[in-house]
Symmetry: C2
Subunit: 223 residues, 2 copies
DNA sequence: ACCTGAACACCGTTCAAGT
DNA sequence: ACCTGAACACCGTTCAAGT
């Protein structure tokens, strides 16, 4: 009567299934809790079955990262001023990173080339070039936006410790040594967990870029 | 004649020594190669000796992160315009992160409160408040600068794979699908590994912040 | 008090075996 | 071809023992 160790059917596994399950497991339980054994259990399969589709655990992490980034659709239209289109691209990228808490860790730990989601990067570079940026400036602007999105997502996304830690530690700082910190504790705590904080910085960058492209009207803002 | 298993003297170990050795080992050999056993070997001590000064490996990682950040001296003077002082603080922070390749990984994996090097943060917040930023704007500006520095360091610092990978992969992209990428390959590759790339983005942010503080002269740059 | 060695429950991965 | 189980060399950590 007891059904024991039913053998898994012949083609229950493939790279995509493994990648999706791995990312899901990491998003919910944290990167550290992904092991060959835990992933196999989640897929109702013997640990060694995974090695028929993948050579190492590293390869699973790579596949999971690509799977997460694949969801990123580049929706920047061709309408409107260039800064609005850049804004849209970056908000979408940042949103994708925030949707998969484990994705940032995967990106930081192992690069995908040097320029993450290639489709989004191509779209962004095109907009910048069309806006009149010289090749060198377009490259630098693109990297700046990429870095800011990564950093914001990395610092904001849920980590090992619960988010409450940050707020508590912040409130426990000695006020006599850190007076400004203490005075700004409330707005800092709020902005730290405000989903719109990313957009604030993005708009600062865009303002800087716009100033750089119209030097004649704002000469004092040039580098 | 053969000296074997000499017992280590009584007080060869303490938290600071362990933290310094751990950070050094991670900086040179990568985060993954830090194990209790490898660290103990480097300190010429039995693995279990470490547990007299530390409760878990996590605690060693925390100590290593704090040790790396402790080197950050806040050198921003009180002279000059506020944007120059902000610039100095952030360049120093970014420089500290780049000096210890493993530090960024430690910061992203486990937060130190929500605001990394507290002394530097206090200094930066003070400058912003003195410059006339409202509490909420000062908090948002501070977080933006912090996130950008983290992201830039994270994306730029050496990873598991050699840096060459990025450049190679970038050159192998199909030019018909990614024409702008192909056209900008040279400036992108150069900017990607240019230590001054961080300063470029920092100056963009500062330009945006300056525009935000002088709304009367540049009304079109306001958010 | 602080360093040590053996042991335990994990982990990624190899190897030979099943179907 | 693809899934499986036993085994190996690791890992972090507990426990009892040395000095």
């Amino acid at each position: 009567m007891i059904q024991r160790k039913a053998r898994a059917p012949r083609h229950t596994l493939d790279r995509a299934t493994i990648a999706a399950a791995a990312l899901e497991l990491m998003d919910t339980d944290g990167i550290r809790s992904l092991t060959i054994r835990s992933l196999a259990a989640r897929l109702s399969v013997a640990p060694m079955a995974l090695y028929n589709h993948v050579r190492t655990k590293e390869e699973i992490l790579d596949a999971a990262r690509e799977h997460g980034l694949a969801r990123l659709s580049v929706s920047a239209g061709t309408e409107g001023p260039w800064w609005d289109r850049i804004r849209e691209i970056n908000l979408a990228f940042h949103h994708a990173l925030r949707e998969h808490p484990s994705l940032v860790g995967l990106l930081v730990a192992r690069p995908l080339g040097g320029n993450a989601p290639i489709d989004a990067a191509e779209a962004q570079l095109r907009v910048l070039v069309e806006a009149g940026f010289a090749p060198d400036d377009a490259a630098r602007a693109h990297l700046t936006l990429l870095h800011y999105a990564i950093g914001s997502a990395a610092w904001t996304s849920p980590r090992v410790e619960p988010q409450a830690v940050g707020r508590e530690l912040l409130e426990r700082l000695p006020a006599e040594r850190y007076p400004t910190f203490a005075a700004l504790a409330a707005p800092l705590a709020e902005a730290s967990y405000d989903p719109k904080q990313y957009a604030y910085g993005l708009d600062l960058l865009l303002a800087g870029l716009r100033a750089a492209t119209t030097p004649s009207t704002h000469p004092d803002l040039r580098k």
